[in-house]
Every structure is written in structure tokens, then in C-alpha cells.
Symmetry: C2
Subunit: 901 residues, 2 copies
């Protein structure tokens, strides 16, 4: 060591400051900042033992370094000097709190000990000094309980065991006749004194330990306990989940105790300097008279407001009424804190007999709405500039603003609790009658019913039912399952992977725990949290205000990345355009195949015996596809529309149930056996790695020929109406340069044919998805045939990691929970693996083709950390589902700011 | 151009030589070599127009460069000088042949024209000179036919059309009363003269062209036709398949005609300088008196031998008897050719009125047995050295020597033709009764029947049936399907992907074309060619002789790569050891789970409700696995055995048919619904990318714990018997360094526990499969936890290319046929994609861990070009199925020689 390891603060001086969170922890750094010369706020004096000491503690095998105790003694002496008290003194005893503090907040993960320094002697002195023996003995009782648990380790023995101190307390209450669950306040000083003795006896009996009376022994024990709690099971687990390094360590802050429970002139409170729900420039606080901080958290009494004006009928008096001076000072403190930290603060304070003490400050958590409003307000107020405001916003939270959501608090108040929980895959909330098939969904919707489609999982055949539903609930699948992707694409609320429900299609019902939900019953689903409610749950409406528009405008000023959308229909395209999409980065053509009037022609094509038969069926599909493209190109006038040619394996389009097979056979005039045989032939063991994408067009080129023709003809039709159509043609599942070479030649040939037939010119870009590791590795060769690349990171993640997203639910959550993976790689790009391949592809692609346009159209294109990574890689644009466009715009702006910094 | 483009040869001089195949084509280069000063063999004089002229021809849009004709005139003049004839002369006319010749042999792909220079005038001269008018007019007729077809382009019009010249010939034969299919020899000179006229009239009528009488016009047309045939459909297709570049071009060789059909003192023959079947040092030839080369090929008459001693009863007289001088000279030529080329030659020759002419020589194709024997003999004879002998061997051909094979020629002679053809996946031939289930196979085998197991595809549940069968036939799957891999592993003949058969399990029969094969019918399968025969087909036995042993010894002297085997049983291990395997590179443990007495315990484990239940079931499995390992470690005493822990997803072990589900439920005392529910939960959309390998052990660590314990205990048991057991433990499907870190910790913990319990030490290497792109990309981090890497190139190919090998049959053959891929990437490593990732993994792995041992245990480990690639990458060993070990040894030696060169 040899360096400084104790950082004192108090009385307008401080050895540390807010920038030293790594060394002092968040709490210690902010206390130093508040106590120090810049703010000189009324902070009880104290000191912080640095995180380096924690590291040293573990190096020494769980021992404090020798130099610590002398340092602490000097620091305690300074507290004594500033407070005019003495640690362990029989007249004016100093009491201390010992708190943990890592560089990031790990709420509840590590230990705290309050009221250190109490023993029989100092307790008597405290009683005398405060004139309140009950207060003194209650403080002592609380201390013995906390110390016995945290430092000495007297805890419940098993999961079902009760806290031994609580048991003693309940027994005592019964003895004094107030019942086991009577109020603590009914206990007298004598009762409390007796409890102290009983607690100590229990510790002796169960642990063989004498409770330490020596304040220094207490303090050193407390410090050791905090350090030890850094490697406690809870904290270790927490760090794994959030991927925080084990070697950060925790700091320990030791501070003079102040008491909010020293009578009516005392109290304690928690305040947000602005409204954390709405963002309004108005303090948002709870104040509890004659109470300690832990009482606020426990919610034992109804707290009052700070300002008189905020007092509602039935509320206790406000701080302004009770302690006008302290109130005035506190308001000033808030202003100074905001002015200093330039952000909304979450402040803990105590009033001890009229004197205000600030115990903690930190950046306040807030709702999405408040986040946006506060950012805009603070820029208007001149507190921060645009870039700072942008950098602070959490893009992912914008989702809350874009969808109506279930009001979980209101539901809880109304006694509604979730009957099951899955994965919230597409945000928003929805209620409706349960149906178990897409056809029912469409039919019920047709007669004006709101429905929720419940399926084990969805498939492209369910699209019409999904569209007709208010929301989708599936028992299987993850964040990028079919239901999730399509749901997000449609901006439709969706809960997936809800393994707690067990669906019985035959009986048309599902079971969740003890609840049986039948077809037609109403449920509500929360696509943000993943909750499922029986009945109608209360909703909060979406609201996009001027502040939202301002934030979006700022984002567009700053970002370099383009933002496009993934949209397959004119409706989706229009929604996305409304959200600011600058084009379509992925227009899937397979969804167009599923509408009832087309699927038959598609099946005819698949079941055809030869090319002529396929061409016959494709000729029926051509005008329909042309119509689709016409509408989409028109909706996106002036903006690029990247159309991906057919991607899924053909078996996705054929029926699998006996009745439907018979129907298809009949309509197409083929024997049932022929249809079944074709089905068997099309079956694939691993469809994800099967006969799909451009592989289909290598064996059946006529499919892509017709699609390209539909694009080309629609483009010329739209242009003929004076509308600027800008299609781009994208080939999926390319792994070999020769595949793209072949497909490009096919595409250019058809474009030339159509152009010649119409006497027009058609110079459309032709590019490729990059979604296989081999495509990344050979991107230099592939780029020779590409006008653009678009990363398909869903499939690229599947192939790079060898993980099927449809099957990952059985192990991926455990991987994330156990820290084997920092995050679900289907949500945030796996930078070390998938990301490294992307970088290779960008480098190699641009080596061949320096101006190669490169985008991403996987689900990751709307996830903030992935957007940042795409910015780093130097991509030209990201493309995401319509409702993620605003998120991507903000994330892209933040990425640009981060790189500038 | 400006360079030399015509290379003359003849009379002991030649402008070219055998090293100039790129410029002169194989044929032209060898003719120059034979005619030139080194050999001075009797080659008809001629010249070769280089491949550069072909390139120029295409550059000029299908036009011969101006400089060519003067060059050709000079070269023809030289032929005239040497032969004392003149091109187009009415006294002693020179006739020429024009032949194509690319740098590699492309048999039948390009065009040839013989007898150029004939017209009415020269034909009369030829008749006079030869004293044989019929010969002259027949030559002219053949010339007009060939030229009309090849140069002028009078061909059949559709696939069903007949050759117009053949039709005229048949009509003529009918007219002269010998019937449409009477012998040509029955036609007189007058008949033939009339045919010449009719042919020309047909050309005029159909093409509007006058047949050229001018010899120079004929010659230039012939040269143009050969160049044009380089871009003919057949040749283009052929080049795509073999990935020969389009810009190689063909050379044209123009040569004085010699005639083997000028009477009894003439004749023509083809000879191999040694026996191409057995390798015996004995000429192996056919000689046809009074015939042209095309007659030998057409097999119109039974040919005779060269030597009197080789004449069999019924044979025509030998060349030695007919033309003793020519015979003696020819024998001398053979000796000189072998001495010069240092290899067995395939020679075409003609005797024209007693004078021997050599028309072509090339390296002779030979059987595997001959290949090995000739290599050994030539080293003994001092013709070549060991390294040259090794470099020339084709490793893949050794397969023929290791398995008994179907004698296709004998079958054909016996009138047996294949009823279907699939992919020959595991070489050898086998006959047996057809069964359609593994259980039937085992039962029938039990009562002494030889059976062939016929399945749509096989799964691990079929292992016992596969083992009990003589051979396996599947309708689906490719070279690396389950059936193929297991078949090769067992050295068991196997035909897969035989889509021409349609299996009906219910009726217990399959249909191949018009043939219905029922259970119990005998079929034979040829695992080399992929043929399926009805009934018993004749077999050729495997024979490993001293020459084979010599070649293997040489290989071991030269190679640097180690060669291990993939073996799961002591039997396989022993076989492989016999073939020279230096250890086991992949011992799969899942096959051990499938024997009937174990599968129930395995299912109990899978169906268990909690860890305790799983441990209970695993405790039953432990002693069985220990026994397996004991036997394998003993069989491989002193050699390493790399054991791969459980890899496949659990659903591979559970039953899927209703009856079996009921049975399992009953035996385990669980409700059928519970079993079915578990089955549904285990179902995976893409099992290849599912919950398998180390992912199983992340969620259920007890599985690997028991496996490691079984390995550790078996190792100590075997060592206690004084046998040197050397297990290595390998973790599959690692994609994240933390996975391997976790699994390594688990492994070392169990090893330490077992060692401590036995008072022994156990320091076993722990390594990982590298079979996911992510593992390659992050190999530096993974190497930190690995004692060795082993490439699993089957899965690595699947994930890198995004191609499921089980589903690839629907498009991969077309990819290879159309040249999109040079070869099936599941057979030979895809160097640009998979190979690039392997290189990355080797570089990164060794950057962390410079002495990291790296091997390969995918199917590619036994494929020669892949073995060479592994050598290039600097791997330590390859591991392959037992029957491929000799191939790998030879391939490894060749790789070492190639790198030395």
C-alpha cells in the first residue's frame, strides 16, 4: 500500500471528491463532494476507507492491514473534535455508522452497521444526553441485533428458520401482553433493556461469543464485516450477473450517527429533486417525523410531504410546517446539488432536533417520461448542454413511451396479481379474449372482439392471426423467437417463453398454476415485464410529447449512423416513417406469401413436379407480389427499400395437419400421398441450416426470377406515377462468392429484361445479407459482387455460437444468470465472437470495395449497445422494427458522442 | 502473341517436351518428348498449336490469329518433307489428323478430326497408292461423316433425333440387301463412294454448305473446330465440375495419318507397360489386326495379345507371331518409355504395313493393388526412389484394399445391374437379407442370418442393428450422415442418400424403380460406388500384402503428422491399432449409452425430476462406463485415448414411438403423460444448435461428473494392473472460454477426489473440441484453459457454412455439379472458409499456449487433401475412422514430401 487509504470529510473539508468513485465507492465519493469546499453542505463528519484496503484485506487472507487501525484512530479523533464527543465516552459518547459502498450501486448486497459505540455505559450517557431513555435503549437493542447478525453471524439456520432476534422480540411482546405482533412503541425502556440482555445471552448460547462492549472492537469488527460481505454469496452472484469484476472491492464509510428519532423535532426523509414519474420541476419527497431511515423504507407510517402546498387531506404535517428553517435550508441544498451535479438527485436527509443533516446523494432514477422531460428542461434551464442531455438518456427506456403499458401498480392496488410470468418480448400492454389458433383470432377479431393469441409457439402461418390480435402469448421461445420478432415488428405487445403456462389445444385451455384459462376468457399481458393477468388489467396510454420530439431532433443532429426500419407492409412502413425511419433496411417477402388467397399458389409452386409447373404457379404470384411492392415503394417514396428475396425453407409454407393436407391435395388435384411424400422430402432435421435463402434459387432459379420481376415492374409502375421508388435487392444466406455472383447475374438479367420491355432503365443496387461466418471470412471475395452488405446478426449469432435461438431457452437463461455470458447474445451483439466476425467482414468487404455500403438488419439493430457497436464498426446504417426506430436514433447519437469524447 | 505458337516434332527432333503440358497439352507434350532427341521413337511427324493460340482465338471472337496459317503451312511442309508426301497431292497425298489436348486429360470432352486432306482426287490417289479402293473410300466416308458432324455441325436435332449420317448408312445397307444393321465390311468401294456423295448432299440440303474439297480449308476448319469445342457445353460443364480454369485453353496437335487398317500386315493396339490390375511386371495389351484405333474402342472384334506366350485358346494370333519385328521394337519402346518416364505407361500404337508407329503415351491408370505393387517394384528396380514412389500413390485408393468389394465387372457379366444408386459412403461390398429395423437386424443376425439394414436414415438408437448388419443402406443423408460416419467407423459397407428407393416401413418393403424389395429379400450393396443390386453380387476379397506394409513403413518414415483413430469400442480400437493408429483421437461416450441394459438408466436420468433423481440414475451408469473405459484403455495400452464427454442432446436417448413410451413409463413407474411432457420439453427445432455438449453439463453438471469419475477410476484400475493407461478428457461444443474454464474446474475437482480416495495421482490432460466459429475466433482465450485442441470439422463446417449435413442432400450435390463448390465440404475441408477459421484458431491458440497440442477428429481427418491441409496448418495429429488410418498415414507422408519439395 503505502498510499493514502483513509479519506476524511466534514466541516467544509474533504480528502476526496465525486470523481473518486472507484476508490471511495459511490456513497463515499458523494459524501466527500458534499462535505468538501465546493458545496460545504451539512454532512455528519466521517471518513472512507478505500477499496484498495478491501483488496489488501483479501490479499492478507481476511485481515485488516496493520496500518489501518492507527489511521482510523486519528480519523475518529477528528470526528470527536468536530462533534465535541468521544467514542466510548460516558458523558458525550460518539456513535458511528459503518456502511459499504462499491463504485456502482449494489442495493442490499452488502452489509451496514449503525449505532456503533454503544454499551451499557454509553447507552446510559445517551439516555441522559437525549433525555430519552427509551430512545437510547431502543438504539442499543437495534445495534445488538444488527451487529449480532452482520458481524457475529447469528442468522437463521435454514431457509425456513426465523431470525432468532425477531423470535425473542415476539416472545417479549407476548410477555408484556401486547401480543407477538404489537407495535415496538409499546415497549418501555426497561423492556428494551431486558431485550438487550436476552439478545446477548442468545449470542453467547448459540455462538459462544461475548458481545463486545469495547467500541473499538465493535468498529473494527464492523469494518471487517463490510469487507467480508463483498465476497458474500449475494454480492458474488450479483457481480456475476452484471459482470462486475471481483477485484473492484468495496469501500467502507464510517460516519458520525445522527438521529431522526430524537422526538418531534426530528425526522428523516428521502427526496427526489424533481418528480421522478413526470419529470416536473418539483421536489418529490417523503418525510417521516421522529423516525429513522429504516422506518421510511419499511413504510410503518404514512409519510408527509416537504412543502405545505403539497399536503393532501389526511397527510401528516409537512416539513415546512414542522421545521421551517430546516425546510428552507433543505430546498437550498437541493438547488445547490442540482446546480452542482447538473442532474436530478435522490437525497437522504435527517433532521435531528431541528438541525438538517444530508446523509447521501446520488443520481435519481426516473421514468421514461421524466427522463425525457428532465433532459429537455435542464437544457432550457442552461444546466446542461444538448450533448450532455443526450448522453444521459437511456435509449431502451423510450420503449415505455411508445406503447400503452399495463399499470402494474394500479393492478396490484386492485388486487390483481400476475398468474404467470414469461419474457417480455415486445413492449406494451394488452387485454383480450384468449384464442388458441390464428384462424380463431382472425374470426373473432372480424366480429369485433379483442383477442390475445395464445400458442406454444407461432409460425409464419399464424401471421394473419397475430395481426388480428391485441397481443401474443407463447409458452416457448425467447427474445428473438418468431412471435417476438413479428410482435415487435408489428409494435404488438408480446410475451414469449412463458413456461409457466401449459397449453392444451384439444381442450382449448391453458393452465397456469391453479388457474385454468379457457378459450374466450379475458387475460391481459404486459409485454414489458412479461406478466400475464387474468381479466382486464389497467393500462397507461402512450404519449409522445414535444420533449420527445426535441430529443429525437437532437439525436438526428448528432448521429452519423443512418436508421432504417424492418417492415414488410405499407402500414408498418408508414408507422416507421412516422418514427423517423430513413428507409427500409429489411423488407421480408415471405410474409407476403402467407395471406390465404396466395398460400395456395405458393403451395402449388412447391408441389409442382417440374420447373414448368413451378413457373405456372409463380405466374399467379407475380401480380400479387408486384402489388405488395407497389404499395411499399409508394409508402417509402424517396427512401430506399431493401427487399430481401425469399429466405425460409419451403416446408414453412406447406400444411402439416391431415385435414389441411387433404384440402390442399383436393384443390390442387393431386393425390394426398403425393402431397405427403413431398412433405416428407421437404422435412429438415435442422431447418435453420437447410435448403433456404439463395440455396433455393440455386436449385429453383425461377422463384427469384419472379420476385425480381415483381420488384422491377412495381418500381417502374410507381415511378410512372411520378413517385421516387428506390428498391434495393438483397440476397439471403450467401456463404460463397459464387452464390452471389450467380444471383447477381440472375437479378441483372431480369432487370434488363423488364427495363427493355418497358423501354426504361433500371439500375437497382444488388447486395447480400452477411449472416454466415463463412460470408464474414470471405467478405473480400463476396464484396466483388455486392453493392451493399447487410448483417443478419440473428442468424450470424446462431451460426457463430452454434446456438439455435428457438432452442436456447433450455440453457441460455442459466448461462446469463451464472455469468457465462454477460447478456443474451440474441439481444445484444456478442462482441468478442459475432462482433469480431463482423469487424472482419467490414474490413475485408471495404478492402475490396472501399465505399461498400454496410448496414445491419438483425434484431440487434434496435438495441442500444449493439447500435453503439455498429457505429464503432463504421457501418452506414442500422435497421430495426418500427417501434425501435426512436431508440436506434438516440443510441446512434450517443454512440457518436461517445466516440467524439 | 509474338511468341512461338507452333511446335513441330518428328524425325528425332522436337520443339517441345514432356514438361510443356500447359502450353502443348498432355498429348502434344508427350508426342514431342517421344519424337525428340531423348527418345527418338517412331512418331508420325506433326506439330502442336499451343494453348495460347486458343486464348487468342477467343480474344479475337472466334477467329484464328493471322500469323497462324503461314506457320501451319511451314509446319505442314516439314511433314511433307519427312514423309515424302504432299498435302492435297494427286499422287502421294498427305493425310492429317487434328486432335485436341488440354493440360489435363478431359476424355471425350473435345473434338477430333481424322483423315483430313481427302477429296475425290486424293482419295483416288490413296486408293492407288494403297492398292485398296475400299479402304480409301471408307476412309473418305468416315472423314466426311466426322467433319460434317464436328466442323460443319450437322448433328441430331433433339435428344430423340438420330445421327443423320447413321440414318443414311442404314438406308444404304437396306438398299444393298444386307439389312440396316449389317456389317460395314459388306459394303464395297462403290457403295462407299455413293455414301460419300449422299453425305455431302445431306450436308448441302440441311446446312446449305458445300463440303470443302480444299485440304487447307479442311485443316483450318478442323483447327477452329477443336478450339471451339473448348467452350462446348460438355467441356464447360466438365471444367466446372473439376474446377479447371476456363483460360487454360486447349492445344491442337496436327499429325501425319498412319493406318492400321491397310491389310493384314497392319493393325492397332493399346498397351499398359505393366498389368494395370495386379501390377505385375508384364505388358498388358490388346492388338487388333487390320483395324483403326476407334475399332479397338468400339470392341467390334476380339483383340489378340502382344506376346505369343499370352495367347489363350480362341484368341487371334499375337503381334509377336504376326509382326515379330514390330513386336520386338514395341517391347523395346515400352522399356525405354518406362525408363524415361519412370512410371507405367498407357501407349497407343499402330502398325502400318509392318512399320510401328507410336501415337500416344501417358501415365497408365491402375487398380489400388497395382498402384502399390508398381510403386514397390519400381523402387526395387531402382527406377524411382522412395519419396517419388510415395508421392505418386493415391491415398484414397487404398480403401479398395481394406474392404472386400463388389466385383462390378463380374456382376455385369452375370447380367446383374444395379437397381438403384446412392452415395458410396463406407467402402466395401456386402450381401444380405433386407430388414427395416435395428431390432430385426439384431434378431436375424442372432440366428445366423446376414442382413442389410435399410432405413430412411439411422440414429444412435440403431447402433446395435448396424453392428449386427453386413451393410447399411439409407434413403437419406450424405457422406457424413449418421449412417455414413458410423458405418465407416465400424468398417462396415454403407450406401447413403439413395433417393431412388422409396421405403414403406408399414409394408416392410422398398421400391426401386419397378422393383419391389420385401423384408427378407437378398440385396447387395457396393459401398464404394453406391450401387444396390438385387440378389447376391460377386465379391472381391481384401488383401493386404507385403507391398502394402512397405508403403506404410515408408509413410511412417516420412510423415510428421501423428495419426490416431476415432474408436468407441475395444474392437474398433484393436482394428485401428492393427492399421497403425497411434492412439484414439476421439472416443465418443454416447454410443456407450445405447446398449439395451443401459438405455433405461439413461432414460431414468433424463426423466428425473431433480438433481437427486439424476444422480440416482447416473450411479447405475457409472460402473458400466467405467467398464467401457477399462477395456478401451487396456486395448490402447501405452497410447493416448481422448475421451469426449457426452455430446448429443438428451432427446436422442428418449423413445419417440407410443409403444416404447408406454414401456418406459411403466418400467420407470411414471405416468405416460409425464414422459410425453418431458419429450415435448426436450424437442428441439434445430438440435444441431441445441442443448448439447458442455451446455448439458452447465445445466446438469452431474452428468460430466459421473463420466469423469468413470474415466478416472478406470484409469487407476488399469494402471493397477500394470498397464499404461493414458486417457485425455475432451469437452465438446465449447464456444466460450468460461464454459471450458467451468468444465475444466469440474474435471480437475473430480480427478482430485478420485485420486485422493485411491491415494494415487491423476494428472490427465483436459482439452476441448474446436467446432464452433466462435471457438476459433476466441481461441486465444479458450487456450488458457486447454491442454489440447481437437478440431471437430464436421460441426465446424456445418456452423461456418450454415449447412446442416443431414439436410444438404437437397442442394449440395447441385452446388458441386454446378461448380459453386469445388467439392463436398463435408468430405474435403473448405479451405477458404472453414480452413481460414482453423488457421485463426491455431494461430490464436498457440499465441496463448505455444506448445498447445492440436489435432482434428472430424471425418476430414481421413481425407487426403484435408490431411495435407492439417499438415500445412501445423497440427500435431489427425484422427479418423479405423479403416482410414492407412490412408491418413500415406496422405500425411505425401503432405510432408510436398512441403519439403
Amino acid at each position: 500500500m503505502g498510499e493514502q487509504f483513509i479519506y476524511e470529510f466534514g466541516d467544509g473539508k474533504a480528502a476526496g471528491n465525486a470523481g473518486m468513485k472507484a476508490l471511495l465507492g459511490g456513497k463515499g465519493a458523494n459524501l466527500a463532494e458534499m462535505a468538501g469546499p465546493a458545496l460545504r453542505l451539512p454532512v455528519p463528519p466521517g471518513f472512507t476507507i478505500s477499496t484498495q484496503v478491501c483488496t489488501e484485506y483479501y490479499k492478507l487472507g481476511g485481515k485488516l492491514p496493520d496500518a489501518i487501525e492507527p489511521g482510523m484512530r486519528a480519523a475518529v479523533a477528528e470526528i470527536e473534535r468536530l462533534t465535541g464527543t468521544r467514542f466510548g465516552d460516558a458523558e458525550r459518547p460518539l456513535l458511528l455508522s459503518v456502511r459499504s459502498g462499491a463504485r456502482v450501486s449494489m442495493p442490499g448486497m452488502m452489509d451496514t452497521v449503525l449505532n456503533l459505540g454503544l454499551n451499557e455505559r454509553t447507552c446510559e450517557a445517551l439516555a441522559r444526553e437525549s433525555g430519552d431513555a427509551r430512545f437510547a435503549w431502543d438504539s442499543y437493542r437495534r445495534f445488538v441485533h444488527m451487529y449480532g447478525d452482520v458481524v457475529l453471524g447469528l442468522k437463521p439456520e435454514g431457509a425456513r428458520d426465523r431470525d432468532p432476534f425477531e423470535l425473542i422480540l415476539e416472545r417479549k411482546k407476548e410477555e408484556v401482553g401486547i401480543g407477538a405482533h404489537g407495535a415496538d412503541t409499546a415497549l418501555t425502556a426497561e423492556h428494551l433493556r431486558d431485550l438487550v440482555a436476552r439478545y446477548k445471552a442468545e449470542i453467547k448460547a448459540r455462538l459462544g461469543l461475548d458481545f463486545p462492549d469495547d467500541p473499538w472492537q465493535q468498529l473494527l469488527g464492523g469494518v471487517r464485516a463490510v469487507f467480508s460481505s463483498w465476497n458474500g454469496a449475494r454480492a458474488v452472484e450479483y457481480r456475476k450477473i452484471y459482470h462486475y469484476p471481483d477485484d473492484w472491492g468495496t469501500a467502507v464509510t464510517v460516519m458520525a450517527m445522527v438521529f431522526g428519532n430524537l422526538g418531534e423535532e426530528s425526522g428523516t426523509g428521502v427526496a427526489f429533486t424533481r418528480d421522478a414519474n413526470t419529470g416536473a420541476r418539483h421536489v418529490f419527497a417523503d418525510y417521516l417525523q421522529n423516525a429513522q431511515g429504516e422506518d421510511v423504507v419499511a413504510g410503518i407510517r404514512n409519510p408527509g410531504p416537504l412543502a405545505r402546498a403539497d399536503r393532501q387531506p389526511g397527510d401528516p404535517p409537512s416539513l415546512e410546517e414542522l421545521q421551517p428553517a430546516a425546510y428552507a435550508e433543505l430546498m437550498q441544498v437541493f438547488t445547490r446539488l442540482e446546480g452542482h451535479y447538473k442532474d436530478m438527485q435522490d437525497v437522504e436527509f435527517t433532521v435531528q432536533r431541528g438541525k438538517l443533516w444530508i446523509l447521501q446523494t446520488r443520481t435519481g432514477k426516473r421514468s421514461a417520461r421524466a427522463m425525457v422531460k428532465i433532459a429537455c428542461d435542464m437544457v432550457s434551464e442552461g444546466l446542461i448542454d444538448r450533448d450532455t442531455a443526450l448522453a444521459r438518456l437511456e435509449p431502451g427506456k423510450l420503449d415505455e413511451l411508445l406503447h400503452p403499458t399495463i399499470d402494474a401498480d394500479a393492478a396490484e392496488k386492485a388486487g390483481q396479481r400476475p398468474i404467470a410470468r414469461g419474457v417480455g418480448a415486445s413492449p406494451g400492454g394488452a387485454s383480450g379474449r384468449v384464442v388458441f389458433s390464428a384462424d380463431d383470432a382472425a374470426a373473432w377479431h372480424g366480429r369485433g372482439e379483442a383477442v390475445i393469441l395464445v400458442r406454444a409457439e407461432t409460425s409464419p402461418e399464424d401471421i394473419h392471426g397475430m395481426k388480428a390480435s391485441e397481443g401474443i402469448l407463447t409458452a416457448r421461445g425467447g427474445m428473438t423467437s418468431h412471435a417476438a420478432v413479428v410482435g415487435r415488428g408489428m409494435g404488438k405487445c408480446c410475451v414469449v417463453g412463458c413456461s409457466q403456462i401449459s397449453i392444451n389445444y384439444e381442450r382449448e385451455q391453458f393452465v397456469a398454476g391453479a388457474v385454468v384459462v379457457k378459450k374466450g376468457d379475458v387475460i391481459s399481458i404486459d409485454g414489458t415485464r412479461g406478466d400475464v393477468y387474468l381479466g382486464t388489467a389497467p393500462l397507461k396510454a402512450a404519449r409522445l410529447d414535444d420533449d420527445f420530439a426535441t430529443v429525437m431532433r437532437w439525436s438526428d443532429e448528432v448521429r452519423r449512423l443512418g436508421v432504417r426500419t424492418n417492415a414488410d407492409t405499407p402500414t408498418d412502413a408508414a408507422v416507421a416513417r412516422g418514427f423517423g425511419a430513413e428507409g427500409i433496411g429489411l423488407c421480408r417477402t415471405e410474409h407476403m406469401f402467407f395471406s390465404p388467397e396466395r398460400i395456395l399458389a405458393v403451395r402449388e409452386m412447391i408441389l409442382a413436379d417440374d420447373e414448368a409447373g413451378r413457373r405456372h404457379a409463380l405466374a399467379k404470384i407475380l401480380p400479387m407480389q408486384r402489388g405488395d411492392f407497389d404499395a411499399i415503394f409508394s409508402a417509402m417514396a424517396g427512401l430506399p427499400v431493401t427487399v430481401r428475396l425469399l429466405d425460409p425453407p419451403l416446408h414453412e409454407f406447406v400444411p402439416h395437419e391431415a385435414a389441411e393436407i387433404r384440402h390442399v391435395a383436393e384443390v390442387l388435384g393431386k393425390p394426398v400421398e403425393a402431397v405427403e411424400q413431398r412433405l416428407t422430402a421437404l422435412h429438415e432435421s435442422n431447418p435453420m441450416l437447410g435448403h433456404r435463402g439463395c440455396r433455393l434459387a440455386v436449385t429453383f432459379p425461377e422463384i427469384y426470377e419472379v420476385q425480381v420481376r415483381a420488384i422491377a415492374e412495381a418500381c417502374l409502375d410507381v415511378r410512372a406515377r411520378g413517385i421516387d421508388a428506390r428498391p434495393e435487392i438483397m440476397i439471403p444466406i450467401v456463404g460463397l462468392a459464387r452464390e452471389l455472383e450467380t444471383m447477381r447475374a440472375l437479378t441483372l438479367r431480369i432487370l434488363a429484361e423488364v427495363a427493355a420491355a418497358r423501354g426504361a432503365t433500371l439500375d437497382l443496387p444488388v447486395g447480400t445479407m452477411i449472416e454466415l461466418p463463412r460470408a464474414c471470412i470471405t467478405a473480400d471475395k463476396i464484396a466483388a459482387h455486392a453493392d451493399f452488405f447487410s448483417f443478419g446478426t440473428n442468424d450470424l449469432t446462431q451460426t457463430t455460437m452454434g446456438i439455435s435461438r428457438d432452442d436456447a431457452a433450455s440453457f441460455l437463461p442459466e448461462y446469463v444468470a451464472r455469468g457465462l455470458l454477460p447478456r443474451d447474445p440474441f439481444v445484444a451483439i456478442d462482441r468478442d465472437g459475432v462482433g469480431a466476425l463482423m469487424r472482419l467482414a467490414v474490413d475485408k468487404g471495404r478492402a475490396t470495395h472501399p465505399k461498400l455500403k454496410i448496414g445491419i438488419c438483425g434484431e440487434h439493430g434496435g438495441e442500444p449497445s449493439s447500435v453503439a457497436f455498429c457505429h464503432e464498426l463504421g457501418l452506414d446504417y442500422v435497421s430495426c422494427s418500427p417501434f425501435r426506430v426512436p431508440i436506434a436514433r438516440l443510441a446512434a447519437a450517443q454512440a457518436a458522442l461517445a466516440r467524439k469524447a
